[in-house]
Amino acid sequence: MKNNCVKTGFILFVLLLISCPDSAAQKTPNQLLLNVYGKMMKVKDYSVEASIRADIPLIKILPVNAVVYFKQPDKFKVDSKSIAIMPKQGFSDLSKIIRDSTTYTAFFTGKEKIGTSLTQIISLIPSVDTGDLVLAKFWIDYARNLVIRSQLTTRSSGTIQIDYFYTSQIGYGLPDRMIFTVDVKKFKVPKAIATDIQNPQSKPKANEKDSKKGVIEIDLKNYKINKGLKDAFFIQK
């Protein structure tokens, strides 16, 4: 009799575990994205010191320091004494992409563990097929409402993948390190205006020609959040 009770209890416990959904599954993809968006919106503006290292085929550049400024929803400025190479997309436009859920269809496409984070993968297809964005994928740490990785496929820039690493500003969802992996297969050097065009011996190296991916690593420190940056500050002179 006692044995039966234990068995029944165990079966009930297992059934309970199976039937109990995890916290991500309780939410729809849109809800999960809105949670992330809510966290992003805690930041009205920020400035941060950035150290930028670019390892891009066909481009030779040393690491440079810059100050990055951002203001919601999409104002963005980089101050640098040196020439800094930044990805065209993905630095400040995540909130712009996910803020209006009526402009896209989002759905779960799997789970993945990235580092120590358990992530839910959400794919996002824009409702209008004439825009630049073709597909966006987000790896979201559903326990902390953080984007751990994103992948944006656009008509103009190909595919760009961004990995985010959080430490000091995790509460605001601001990363301390970002690694951009960009598609470089479209890069072509216009030979007619290359400075060594008169030297017939200077030809592109085979391995550089074949390279497909470029990596930009940005380390961010000394965030100054919600200091009230003015709109006029972002107007380019």
């Binding site: 891009i56 085929p57 066909l58 481009i59 030779k60 550049i61 040393l62 440079v64 810059a66 980089v78 640098s80 004494k81 040196s82 020439i83 800094a84 190479i85 930044m86 990805p87 065209k88 103009s156 820039s157 190909g158 760009i160 960009v182 598609d183 470089v184 479209k186 890069f187 072509k188 050097v189 216009p190 030979k191 205006i193 290359a194 400075t195 060594d196 065009i197 008169q198 030297n199 017939p200 200077s202 030809k203 592109p204 190296k205 550089e208 470029g214 930009i216």
Partner: protein, 280 residues
């Protein structure tokens, strides 16, 4: 006597109106380039970076004085040898044409020293031309556009050099460019020893530069063995200082080839001038 003769030769160069054509031409050309870049420079830059800018954005002062200086030098380095030849090609043949060479040869100075003093005065003029080009390109370029990192488009891709790492490259590049211009000056002085009219050596020098440049630019295997021996191939070696890393061996090779040209041509000029039958 040699230094006095050199001084006199330089005064003669300075007294000729044609000597100022080079300085005037450089002033106008650099002025036009800087004006065009001030007005339409960003369009020019985006033409260079267009294929990169689909994915990447370039932040910072891309259109700066260092880039302007590089563009100016890149554009004018072909024309400056012609401006130098305009003066140095006239050093001996001009005097022969005017009839003053015979009187000059009666001075208490050997023909070798006389020709060397003309050669040295020609080199000083070449230096003045190059310094003026440098002042116009770097000085005015920085004045108008400020300073910044130098972005260079090469056939292997884009090279971005930090502003603190640029000046020594310009100075080293100028040294090589000077050596290249001295080669031109030596060639025209040598040709000048063979004729008694001033137009011949100038035009012949220009024709040789054009011919060698075309041979050097043609990517045809038949010229592969000749190309490294042409001085025009090594005239562009100032640009090697803007490679990262700097190809030291390649630059050393260019310096050696240019020096061999200078010494050989000067030797021919000295031989011819010493044997020359000066009739007028």
């Amino acid at each position: 006597m040699f230094w006095k003769s050199t001084y006199n030769e330089f005064i003669k160069i300075a007294a000729k109106p044609r000597s100022y054509i080079g300085l005037g031409a450089i002033t106008v050309l650099v002025g036009v380039i800087l004006f065009a870049m001030k007005v339409d420079g960003l369009a020019y830059i985006s033409f260079i970076t267009a294929s990169f800018e689909q994915t990447l954005s370039f932040q910072g002062n891309v259109l700066n004085g260092n880039l302007m200086a590089f563009i100016v030098l890149q554009t004018l380095i072909i024309q400056v040898p012609l401006l130098v030849a305009l003066v140095t090609g006239d050093l001996v043949s001009g005097e022969a044409a005017m009839g003053s060479l015979r009187m000059l040869a009666t001075k208490p100075i050997s023909r070798t020293k006389l020709l060397l003093s003309k050669f040295l005065a020609g080199n000083i003029y070449t230096l003045v031309i190059l310094l003026w080009l440098g002042v116009m390109a770097i000085g005015f370029g920085r004045l108008l556009f400020g300073t910044g990192d130098l972005m260079i488009l090469k056939s292997e891709g884009l090279v971005i050099l930090q502003s603190t790492d640029v000046m020594w490259r310009f100075l080293s590049g100028f040294v090589i460019a000077y050596l290249a211009l001295v080669t031109i000056a030596t060639l025209s002085v040598t040709l000048s020893c063979f004729t008694d009219n001033s137009i011949g050596p100038i035009v012949t020098t220009m024709a040789i530069i054009i011919l060698f440049t075309i041979i050097g630019t043609l990517d045809v295997p038949v010229f592969d063995s000749i190309r490294p021996l042409l001085f025009t191939t090594h005239m562009a070696s100032w640009r090697s200082f803007f490679d990262d890393p700097v190809p030291k061996q390649q630059i050393a090779n260019s310096v050696i080839v240019l020096l061999i040209h200078i010494v050989s041509l000067l030797g021919i000029a000295l031989y011819k001038f010493n044997k020359k039958d000066i009739l007028s």
